[in-house]
Structure formats: C-alpha cells, structure tokens
Symmetry: C2
Subunit: 383 residues, 2 copies
C-alpha cells in the first residue's frame, strides 16, 4: 500500500513539463512562460509628460508666452524657446528645448502668458518620464516558469508583446466506464444512473483552462483497451473499473496498452484503488467511479499532475485548525474530509459526508482535510 | 472626497442582482443559483448494492446455490429464493427477495455454492443503498444564491438536472479613450502607446467567466457621449479621461448620457478620479487610464460591482501581517500596495511599485494591501 506522499513524489518525478508552444497573448492566460519574456523595445518608447501642465525651457522661467498645446497622441512639431512655454497634457511627447514640466496647479495663467505661481519651484527634468526609464530593450519582463496573470498580460501588452512561448495546454481524455452510466439527455431505464463524473471533470478542467473530451466506454475489457490504445492524449483519465473486481478493467487495459503502473493501491480514503501509470511522456490515472472518490482523486492527484505538465508549482499541505473536531482515523487508513476554509480566520470547517453517495459537501468545499488530531489541528489542501 | 468604504456601500446599495436566466448545466459554472434547485426525483433511483458480493434471502443463509450474476446496468429478472444466492456487483439492482448483501470477502464459494465465511455475519439490509436514501423528489440540492462549483455540477448531473436558473452573466462594454492609445497589432508612431487596459480587462473578466467587448473611442467629448448612449450594457467601463483635465470627457459623457454620478473624487491612491455612476439598472465606472490605477480600481471596486450583479458574495478586508514593512501614509491619502499573500504563513509580502508606470508588481500580486501600520500589520484584499 503506497502512502499519499509517496504517490505525490512519483507524480513529481515522472511527470515532465509539456513542450513550449508559441501562443497569442490572451491564450497565454494562466499558462507558465516557457522562457524569459524580454522587452522588445524601450518603455516608455518616448519622453513624455506625467502631468497636465506647462513645458518651460528653464527651471526659472519667468513670464512666458504660451505658443501652443500638445496633447497625448498628437505629436506636434513644437519647440520650447527661451521666454515661451507650451501647454502640455499627460502622456504627450516632450517638445524639444524643454527643461521641465510644471504642473498646472503650480502655474499662473494671465492672458496668453504663463508663469510659475508664487512659491512654486521646478527641478530640471521634473514630471518628464524618459524613454527607456522603465524597461530597456532585452530587459526581462516575465521570468521563465511564471504563471501569466491578467497583470502579466497588461505588462506584456504595454510593451507590444503579441505572442509568447508558454507550456501546454495538456490534451485530456476522460473515459467513462460503467454500463449503468448514461448521459444526462437520456431518460433512465431501470438500473441506470446519470453520469456525473463527465460534467464534474469538464468543470474542474475548465477551471484550469482546459477542455476535456469525455467518452463513454462499454464495460468489457476489449473496448477499453482499444480506446486507450487508439487515442493519444497527454493525460488519460479512466472513470471506474479501477478496483480488483471482475468487471474492473482499468488496470489490465492500461497494462495491455503498454503503460507502466506506478501505483494501484493507496493508503487514502477515498482513493484506495487509484491507478497512476505512464507510457513515455503520457500520463494516465485510473480513478474510482464513485463521484466522491473521483472528485477527491482529481483534486489531490490529477490536478498535481496537470500543474506539473504545465510547468506550474504544485500546492503544499498547510497546517490548520478546524472549527469543529473530526475524529482521527483509528485504523491507519488516512481519510480526506471536505472542508470550507475561511481565509480570514485561517480555520477550516469540516463538511463530513454522510456516506459515499452524498455529493452535497462538494457544493461548498474549498479545501480537503487530512490527518485530523484530537487537539483539533489537521493538515489541509486548499483547492 | 469620498472614503473607500463609502464607495463600497454605494456599490452595495445601488447595484442589484441581474435577472435570472435558464442556463445549461455547464454554462452555470461559477454563477449563483437564482432559486433553490430541487431534486427532480429520488436518488438513488433504485435499490442497489454498494459492494461486490452475494445477495441472500436470509441473514442466516447457510449453503446456497448461486443461480446467476447481476451487474450494474444489466437489470436481470432474477429473484433470490430460499436456499439460493445471486452474485451481485457494485451498483447493480437488488433482486427481489434479497434480505442482505454479503461482501465477497465475507463469503466462501465451493463449486456452484456459496455460504458465509466462518465468523462472518450480515444484518438485514446490509450493503443495500435504498431508493431515495440520499434525496427525495423536491429536496433542495443547491440553495438560491449559492455559487455553482464543479462539485455542484456533479451533484446536479447525478440527479439528472440539465438546466437551472442562474444570475447573469453581465454584459460588459469597455471603452478605451486616449488618442495616443493603439492596439497591439499596430506599429507605434511617435507619441503613441500600446493599449494594455483592453487586454488587462479582458483577462480579468475571463477569470470571472465574462467576455468583454473592448472598443477604442477618439478623444473628443461627442464620440464618447455617443458611444455611451448607443451601447447598452449591464456594466460600462470607460478607460481614461476620468480626471478633471480639459481632455477628460468621462464625467461629462456619463452625465450627458443620463447617468447619475455617485462618486468622482475618492480618497484612494491610485483611484482618486474614479467615477461611479448608474442609470436605471445600468452601472458605469470611469476608470483612470494609467494601467496601475486601472488594475487597482478594477480589483477593488469593479469586481465588487460584478459580484453584486451576479448575486455573489463580496470579499471582506482581512487583517494581516506584512513580511516586510511599508511606510504608513503620512498625508491622509490611503494607498493600495500590491502584495504576494502566502496562505500558508498568512503573511503578505508587499510588492511596491517604483512609480506609476511600472506594471511589474502586477505579475505576482494576489492581494492589495491598505492602511499599513508602523507595527507591520495592515488590511488586505485577497484578489
């Protein structure tokens, strides 16, 4: 029986980063940069004013005639000569001959003339943002391995980056076994149940920016082997049939298709029959078909493998206090309990399930609790 | 000058939930249920076995002849008569006449017969999951106002719910002003800059499951007024022109288009010129065009309005400790600093920006810090 931490180590050591792909800026959201992203030019690209005000040719300008106005996006061939000033708006190019920009609230306008207000001072270069003052061409904007956040998108857009090399996305195939399982559009015949694992996995993957292909496979060994053999995917998930029963075909199908099995019996409740297998760079999990077990195994193990495929950091278990006690395991079987974690108090509220058919706690769960103690502490995985 | 908390109160009181829409299950992900979602039937829909084992007609069965096998999804017209047993697999219908299911590991098979292993016992109804044992028809599955998580999708799919009433999504229009601002596909002429607010807002909205329409508007008052008047949206965002300058048209455009202005001067750095306005159920923000200010105003105020439109809870400010000190404001202007919050230690690391053109801290920021004290505590908004 493998321990949870051992399986994490197996995943970390066996799942490698996917190859880099050149991707449009918006499609890179939440992917990891696959190389250092460099500034393609100077930023700002030109000297400009950081304020609405007046451009003077001297820091002691006296009374100056205003010869024109320059606004952002309206490059005018203006110069600032001695004894003159140019009205300038935020973001506008700095006219030739400018010593400094005085903020308009520091200026006094009389007719066509402007001077500094009594007591106001300006220093050379004041309120001028210089070309290249933020980034020089070739400066690193985003380091390799960094997740592309909306803020990173804004940063890259501001310097004109339109595409970049990122890792992934992984292709995922979800094979749903179980002759009793039918899609939601079908009315149930006696003995049939609706598939909930397909929609669950689609939604979980959507939260990671991935689209899953979910397909139903009949409960005979050959159909599953053929599907596994035929369909290449970076990540293969088999729903159901992970156990040792006579109609459990996942293990045999993976072996027949050439996968090496790294784990098939785990000290985890739920998740005991979880299978982890690889074939070259391909990753496969055989997941228990029970929806609770399916959800836990995805959150704890599959998500970690996807983060590894995508070159993103994997989450750590955190120490926590529970707002209500749950009994420690007495039989050595380590048990996951869904929890509602409150980032304000730092505490987690256990949401125990009544039995393995009760999906209600999943509605509100944002954490999974492990190893509760009699003292009310536990470890927790934030989802 | 309005305080930050006053503007939050304005948003909370003036932004109402959008009307409910009937939506397919997968499209409901991360929306709020707009009514209690009820179970359309009994769950489980039929009595079934929770184990692989044998169905006996008595809890003291003796040696029984195995008359057949029943698997999940294969309803066979089997009965369990006295002195006989049926091999049954997990999820299979319970044959008529069954008193209990014995787990296969508690049974001894000899030829065509089966009996309980020495010392094994079964109770009446053991390992049988009863029809309606989890939900009865009409039971509440998800309460009104609850966000539809992947777990909720699984729960609803398991009982055959294919569509539900949810709130939103909001339609969002993002108008980018600034004659100097051009799209990423355009080479820059002197004095021009690339639009970063459009991609930023698209990415931030994508994280909320929303698509933004972003359009550039020339820097004259009439174009903006016409755009604001012509284009209905639940949420209108104007980028740039929020200040009191002569080329700042946002306030006048909103007034001319019939919006009531609730705030236009805020004690927030960045964010001082932020405009909040409403027209009937329509919401508008005039956001500073500086990308840092734009990002902060979205995170602190616009996101809150979207959560309100969607009937979702708004975040609370949390007390925190900083892993490095930042100076408290000395001039009464309350200042937001981006932070990298670590859920493990509960501490936040300030990521100060060098100046208002430096977007680098946005790459890693997952929190915004407010009101730092000399003691190293602060308040924090988790993003």
């Amino acid at each position: 029986m493998m321990e949870i931490e051992q399986l994490w180590e197996e995943i970390d050591s066996r799942v490698a980063c996917l190859p880099a792909r050149q991707t449009g800026l918006m499609q890179a959201l939440h992917r990891a940069a696959a190389e250092d992203i460099l500034s393609p030019g100077e930023f700002p690209a030109f000297d400009h004013s950081s304020m609405d005000g007046f451009a003077f040719s001297s820091v002691q300008p006296g009374r100056c005639r205003v010869t024109g106005t320059i606004a952002a996006g309206r490059p005018l061939p203006l110069q600032v000569a001695s004894g003159t000033a140019v009205r300038i708006l935020t973001g506008a190019c700095i006219p030739e001959g400018t010593a400094a920009i005085a903020r308009q609230e520091d200026c006094a306008v009389e007719g066509e003339d402007v001077s500094l207000s009594p007591g106001a001072r300006i220093a050379f270069g004041e309120n001028i943002r210089r070309r290249g003052g933020v980034f020089r061409k070739g400066d690193i904007l985003v380091r390799s391995g960094t997740a592309i956040t909306p803020g990173a998108i804004a940063l890259l857009a501001s310097v004109g980056v339109r595409s970049l090399k990122v890792t992934g996305p992984a292709s995922v195939l979800h094979l749903v076994t179980g002759d009793e399982v039918v899609g939601s559009a079908t009315s149930l015949l006696p003995g049939q149940i609706h598939d909930s694992n397909g929609p669950m996995i689609s939604a979980l993957l959507a939260d990671m920016g991935l689209a899953a292909e979910s397909r139903h496979v009949p409960d005979d060994g050959d159909s599953l082997v053929n599907r596994v053999r035929e369909t290449p995917a970076d990540l293969l998930l088999i729903s159901g049939g992970a156990g040792p029963g006579e109609r459990d075909h996942a293990l045999d199908a993976l072996k027949s298709a050439g996968y090496a099995i790294h784990s098939s019996r785990l000290n985890s409740r739920p998740g005991k029959p979880l299978i982890f297998a690889t074939k070259g760079p391909g990753i496969a999990f055989g997941l228990p078909g029970n929806p609770l077990s399916h959800w836990v195994c995805f959150q704890v193990f599959v998500k970690r493998a996807i983060l590894r495929l995508h070159g993103l950091p994997v989450p750590e278990m955190l120490g926590t206090r529970m707002s209500a006690k749950i009994a420690p395991s007495r039989d050595g079987r380590r048990t996951w309990t869904p929890g509602a974690w409150d980032s304000g108090s730092g505490r987690v509220r256990p949401l125990p399930w009544k039995h393995s058919g009760d999906l209600t706690p999943l509605v509100d769960a944002n954490a999974l609790i492990l190893d509760p103690t009699d003292e009310g502490t536990a470890r927790m995985l934030i989802l």
